[in-house]
């Protein structure tokens, strides 16, 4: 069986230690976490964790069951085979020498992102999109010199119409 990338949307109690329970489950059982993003949902007592992980069918089945077994986990949805919207936010600080400024702004325009901080020597760009888009812009900006960057990891939600149709 081949490893496949999966994306889970996990609704959990918004309590101290819950993230540690999930992280501990993954490290203790040797599962991978590719990316992880956590924040409170509409209700203050629940948080949504979006997690990307990898494994063969057997491991993915165990991951889902083991997550369900944690008392603080409310729901686990595997979005991988469902229509879903997936986004990631990145902040990229790039060297902006006078001769590169126009080029950088063109790239920003083409990728529909924004410059959110400007200095004498740099631009900070805010960008959201899927992983491919992030990779593409990083490749284009690399020659100018990326000073540092921060990424959120993916967040995702199922598409409402598609889930209704598929049910």
């Amino acid at each position: 069986m081949k490893d496949q990338k999966h994306i889970f949307s996990i609704l959990v109690d918004n309590e101290p230690g819950v993230l540690s329970r999930i992280a501990g489950l993954f490290s203790g059982r040797g599962y991978n976490i590719d990316s992880l993003s956590v924040a409170q949902t509409v209700e203050s007592n629940a948080s949504r964790i979006t997690m990307e992980t990898r494994g063969d069918d057997h491991i993915i089945e165990q991951i889902i069951k083991q997550l369900h077994k944690l008392i603080n986990v409310i729901t686990v949805i595997d979005l991988t085979d469902k229509h879903h919207i997936k986004r990631e936010l990145a902040l990229i600080k790039v060297h902006a020498k006078p001769e590169h400024r126009a080029e950088i702004l063109r790239i920003v325009d083409i990728f529909r992102c924004r410059v959110v901080d400007v200095g004498h020597e740099h631009y900070t760009i805010e960008l959201s999109g899927d992983e491919e888009k992030l990779r593409a812009i990083m490749n284009l900006l690399k020659p100018m010199g990326i000073i540092e960057m921060a990424r959120t990891g993916a967040i995702a939600l199922a598409r409402e119409t598609a889930t209704k149709n598929s049910n």
């Binding site: 329970r21 008392i71 986990v73």
Partner: protein, 563 residues
């Protein structure tokens, strides 16, 4: 009614039907102990080491079929419970462990006797809590007991900061426990069970494999009925011993690494395996690809993670073993009796042939005591009615092989974690749960020394237990592996220096006896079992006796070493 945290704690523990707790005081729990002194109806058994408190609570839970409770202080008191908690977790035993904690204002400051016990025990508890506000205390305790005893049972830890215990609030009875994210599936899928009926009717070589889940769900009657109804032979894991009477002709013995020849051969040959409350541990399956290669496997378990974890299953049933087996029996009752019974004569005669050609065997000739002989004699003298606890290693395997358990809740051993030092505190816990029963710890000379201090607990609490030490002056099971697989290089397994166990017993105020010849075995056991109070019976046994059969680690079940 205004109550302190400590008063709420005791009130809530009592409201759960608990009348015995095992514990050890300390600074962080001194307020709880102060309150405890007002409650003579809640028996506190003072252990000599916190590890013992948890093993005792574990065995208490298993002997009684209810929840066991222990109470310890913060820091080292809490860390000393970890082995006991991990053992209860792997054996799915319902216990609630209360740990003291420093004042909540000090948490995180590396205060004296502070440790993050909730963090430490996260991977080895079913769930755990740090109670930060006295308002949450009553509800948390109720939830802790609910989680410990429901679904697949397990240990729950509740960490109690000192200021939460001293705070006073207006007590309100907490409502029914409702945890939206925790709803174990008890009722099995009927359709799946109708499939099992068909599988049973078709099967020519069926087999029942019962595990600890059958003990926990109290479904030994249902398993027995199923076996008799359809004439299906039964094997049971270490944790499941006693769920089916060992005296019954359909009994195969335990399977796995030290399983009987016929049990392992039956697993290899069966065409249908009905597994109930088992998790297919590696000590049972041997090499997984060679496990039950010809069988369609039905697995009943309340924990979905147990299904498809190690072994692929053809017919999974998520549900309580008792409900599932009762429904299966009900469905079978509606079927034609002859069809359900089928013709199993060939299968059963094959099994009896395996049994007669390769029974469990040892040779009690000569002048040196064989450990198996001690266990067999113990069975004979107690008529299989005693509660037996064990330590871990050869003593545990010989007990599993030779005692012949007829009833559930009578064999209490650390199965999953394999804790040396489990047996003595476990015996004390079992005796507290069943004061009218004879309780015997079968020990080795190595493991008995790991929690020997609990002898004082037994004496002080007037919980007389009998301890059988099979003394071979070796760490026998490790030595066995060295003998068979490591060119007989006995690295650190000889234990030449041990206490004089007879004098040791006397030093604690117990009775000590020793037998060195086969002719003394029966007499020593008779005297020791009949004597008042706690007794150590030491048997100087054959030093190099090995546990057979043995499936080498990583081997298939049929690749047994037999002699």
């Amino acid at each position: 009614m205004k109550l302190t945290g400590a008063q709420i704690l005791i009130k809530m523990i009592k409201s759960q039907g608990v009348d015995t707790i095992f514990g050890y005081p300390g600074g962080a729990v001194i307020d709880i102990y102060d309150e405890l002194a007002n409650h003579p109806d809640l028996r506190h058994i003072l252990v000599r080491h916190e590890q013992g408190a948890v093993h005792s609570a574990d065995a208490y839970a298993r002997a009684k079929g209810d929840v066991g409770v222990s109470l310890v202080t913060s820091g080292p008191g809490a860390t000393n419970t970890v082995t006991g908690i991990a053992s209860a977790y792997l054996d799915s035993v319902p216990i609630v462990v209360f740990t003291g904690q420093v004042n909540s204002a000090l948490i995180g400051n590396d205060a004296f006797q502070e440790v993050d016990i909730v963090g430490i025990t996260r991977p080895c508890t079913k769930h755990n809590y740090l109670v930060k506000h006295v308002e949450d205390l009553a509800r948390t305790i109720k939830e802790a007991f609910f989680i410990a005893r429901s679904g697949r049972p397990g240990p729950v830890l509740v960490d109690l900061p000192k200021d939460v215990m001293t705070a006073t609030i207006e007590f309100e009875e907490p409502g029914e426990v409702h945890i939206k994210s925790y709803r174990p599936t008890y009722t099995p899928n009927r359709k799946q069970l109708t499939k099992v009926v068909e599988l049973i009717k078709q099967a020519k070589r069926p087999l029942i494999f019962a595990g600890g889940g059958v003990v926990l769900s109290k479904s030994s009657d249902e398993i027995t009925k199923l076996a008799k109804r359809a004439d299906i032979p039964v094997t049971a894991s270490l944790m499941g011993l006693g769920t089916f009477p060992a005296s019954d002709p359909l009994w195969l013995g335990m399977p796995g690494m030290h399983g009987t020849y016929r049990a392992n051969m039956s697993i290899d040959s069966c065409d249908l395996m009905i597994a109930a409350g088992v998790r297919f541990d590696d000590r049972v399956t041997g090499r997984i690809e060679k496990f039950a290669p010809n069988a369609r496997i039905v697995q009943i378990d309340i924990d979905p993670t147990s299904i498809h974890k190690n072994v692929s299953v053809d017919c999974p049933i998520v549900g309580d073993c008792k409900k599932s087996l009762a429904l299966l029996n009900e469905l079978l009752d509606k079927e034609d009796s002859a069809e359900v019974l089928g013709d199993k004569s060939q299968w059963l005669s094959q099994i009896s042939e395996w049994k007669s050609t390769m029974p469990l065997r040892y040779d009690q000739g000569g002048e040196i005591i064989k450990p198996q002989f001690v266990i067999e004699t113990l069975h004979e003298l107690t008529q299989g009615k005693a509660i037996i606890t064990t330590e871990v290693g050869q003593n545990q395997m010989w007990t599993a092989q030779y005692y012949g358990f007829d009833k559930p809740n009578h064999f209490i051993t650390s199965g999953g974690l394999g804790v040396m030092g489990f047996g003595l505190p476990a015996a004390i816990g079992a005796k507290a749960a069943c004061p009218d029963k004879l309780v015997i710890d079968v020990a080795g000379d190595g493991s008995i020394q790991m929690n020997i201090q609990e002898l004082s607990t037994a004496l002080e609490a007037n919980l007389p237990v009998k301890i059988v030490i099979l003394n071979n002056r070796y760490l026998g099971m490790v030595r066995q592996w060295q003998d068979l697989f490591y060119d007989k290089r006995y690295s650190s397994t000889p234990m030449e220096c041990a206490p004089d166990f007879v004098k040791l017993a006397e030093a604690y105020g117990a009775t000590g006896m020793r037998a060195s010849k086969p002719s003394e075995v029966k007499e020593t056991l008779e005297k020791g079992l009949a004597a008042e109070g706690t007794v150590i019976m030491e048997f100087v046994v054959e030093r190099e006796e090995l546990v057979y059969p043995m499936v080498p680690a990583g081997g298939g079940l049929t690749e047994m070493l037999l002699v």
